[in-house]
């Protein structure tokens, strides 16, 4: 067919852009999901700073005893809660992809001569962009509430870069979870561990304050080095090898999520 020959060689890119436009249009037209993505970290921020902040701040001490000086609890908790903004997008991703997979339109895409991965890439890129907006808004709110980081421009850039890596990793993982689930309802529960795990790390309180078993887990789970790196970049605390470990986790999880999602997407549709 002549139209096949005239198609650009950059089909995956072009199709992914088309799919991205589709997903962003969905997000703009039906902002409920995007708003709920944003609401979670904002509620956390308000809760942990204004409600628990006083008590936790006393326990944590100035910068969890790591930074010294008269810093507020918000300076300890904000980096972790900004990270939660990155995790909150995963729920929207899993639901959106599950909704798509259980709707008829996916079979239309599957019978068209388009790049198959474009469906997934459009979703993932759209979700990453939305999550980055959420991260920016939560960071802005934290600053307005009295969060006073001492990061340089380069450090801010590194913060942004690391958060982007985290978001990409979480989004691919939750895309795979959304593909595994048979309904959007189950898909909305699947990424719960991704959202809950920061609490079992150093997001809210230092790991030193935890019982031995939990502390061991908290120190070795991926979120802790990520939070420690963010805190170090923003507040000037010790980073050590956390940065390298954080980036390694992100790259590894992205790879796992990507390969898993691709394998799930290649499965034949259920009958």
């Amino acid at each position: 067919m002549s139209s096949t020959l005239s198609r650009p060689l950059s089909r995956p890119l072009s199709d992914s852009m088309t799919m991205l436009r589709r997903n962003l249009r969905h997000a703009l037209r039906y902002p409920a999901m995007s708003i709920s993505v944003l609401a979670m970290p904002i509620v956390m921020l308000l809760l942990f700073v204004y409600v628990f902040g006083g008590a936790l701040g006393t326990g944590v001490g100035p910068m969890g005893g790591a930074g010294g000086g008269d810093t507020d609890y918000i300076d300890y908790a904000a980096p972790g809660i900004i990270l939660m903004a990155a995790t909150s997008g995963s729920l929207a991703m899993a639901v959106a992809i599950s909704v798509d997979m259980t709707a008829g339109i996916i079979n239309r895409f599957r019978t068209m001569a388009i790049s198959r991965s474009s469906v997934l890439i459009g979703h993932v890129v759209g979700c990453v962009l939305q999550t980055l907006v959420a991260i920016a808004l939560v960071t802005g709110l934290a600053l307005a509430m009295g969060f006073r980081p001492n990061a340089t421009a380069v450090e801010w850039l590194a913060v942004f870069g690391l958060l982007t890596l985290v978001t990409i990793a979480l989004t691919w993982l939750s895309a795979a979870m959304g593909l595994v689930c048979r309904s959007p309802e189950t898909a909305s529960n699947a990424p719960m561990p991704l959202q809950f795990l920061p609490f079992l790390g150093s997001a809210i309180v230092p790991t030193d304050s935890m019982p031995t078993g939990l502390r061991w887990f908290a120190e070795y789970q991926p979120y802790t080095p990520i939070i420690e790196t963010l805190r170090g970049l923003l507040m000037g605390t010790e980073i050590g090898n956390s940065g390298v470990i954080a980036v390694a986790w992100c790259v590894g999880l992205t790879l796992v999520g990507f390969l898993w999602a691709r394998a799930m997407f290649k499965r034949e549709p259920r009958h």
């Binding site: 650009p8 008829g104 239309r108 068209m112 549709p269």
Partner: protein
């Protein structure tokens, strides 16, 4: 199907190019064999209708031919390409409108069409032109700026087909395109299919409505239990079953008894008080039948003339043992 039967049904008489061919197509899900050695031979520019009861494997067949799922065996060519080896070549030649709405419910009708235009690389200008043309053709201009959630069933199905047509496919699969539609929307859909074929497109239509196949299809195949149990034109299929009859219903068993004795070997139903008398349905035969009833003072409550239609073919071919109700239901309708 053996070569002799093939010749009998006129399948090798035409030399026109083939849109779809299959030999020995097989598909099983675990132990359950869904398609058990199917042969297809569909000429370009024709409507082929696959008929079968629910669960016969019609959708599975469409899914295999449209590259959605793989077959377990058999040789398949769609638009000259093997769906397993060169799915993209098949995909660029086909369009599929499945049983379940394949529109994006979060986009407007127009945006849905433009999405298809983008995925077909039509370019902005040509895409807009084509979307506008299809909205016009499928009577969706007023609904263009609304999302399909506000559409009626018929409108959604029209949008669905319009999206399929954006890429100008040469072969279109329509999987039960009129299920759940009201009569007017069904007729609109039939006209759409006729227009498509007039434009040279090949249509592969699955349906469980026999009148639909009768109306639209050049050739009909009946799928039952994973096998094609019959194939031919509507006329050929109708010829395969016994001729028509007149059905008489009586008020009292006495009348039924007397009539049954007079007509001899006829099929009777004592519960419904009905008799089925073989007849070609001609006015002459009917008149003599009525004259006899008058002469004998046998009081018949109701008379209906039944000529064989695809329903009979369908029930005769797909009837399961121990399901005698099938034949009774077909006789309810009057074909005068």
């Amino acid at each position: 199907m053996n070569p002799a039967a093939r010749t009998l049904l006129g399948m090798t008489t035409s030399r026109s190019p083939r849109a779809i061919t299959a030999t020995g197509l097989r598909k099983a899900y675990g132990e359950q064999v869904v398609l058990d050695g199917i042969d297809l031979d569909i000429a370009e520019g024709t409507v082929f209708s696959l008929l079968g009861p629910n669960g016969a494997g019609k959708t599975t067949m469409v899914q295999i031919l449209s590259t959605l799922i793989g077959a377990d065996g058999g040789d398949i060519r769609v638009a000259g390409h093997d769906p397993a080896k060169d799915p993209d070549a098949v995909r660029s030649a086909i369009g599929v409108t499945g049983q379940f709405s394949a529109v994006d419910h979060l986009l407007t009708g127009e945006e849905n069409l433009l999405l298809m235009a983008d995925l077909n690389y039509l370019g902005r200008r040509e895409g807009r032109r084509r979307a506008a043309e299809l909205l016009e053709r499928f009577d969706l201009v007023d609904a263009a700026k609304r999302t399909p959630a506000t559409y009626s069933g018929g409108m959604q199905r029209r949008l669905d087909i319009a999206m399929t047509l954006v890429g100008q496919p040469r072969i279109i699969f329509l999987d039960e395109p009129t299920s759940g539609l009201d009569p007017r929307s069904r007729h609109t859909m039939w006209q759409i299919v006729r227009d498509l074929v007039a434009g040279g497109v090949t249509v592969f239509l699955t349906t469980q409505y026999l009148d639909e196949a009768d109306q639209l299809a050049d050739r009909i195949a009946v799928l039952n239990g994973g096998k094609l149990v019959a194939e031919g034109t509507a006329e050929e299929l109708k010829r395969r079953i016994p001729g028509g009859h007149v059905r008489l219903r009586f008020a009292v068993p006495g009348d039924l008894e007397r009539a049954a004795r007079a007509f001899g070997e006829v099929s009777r139903d004592d519960e419904a008080l009905t008799l089925q008398v073989p007849s070609d349905g001609s006015v002459r035969e009917l008149r003599s039948l009525l004259d006899w009833l008058d002469a004998e003072s046998v009081d018949a409550e109701e008379l209906s003339v039944h000529t064989p239609d695809l329903d009979d073919v369908f029930f005769a071919l797909t009837e399961k043992p121990g399901n005698p109700t099938a034949q009774v239901t077909t006789a309810q309708k009057v074909n005068a």
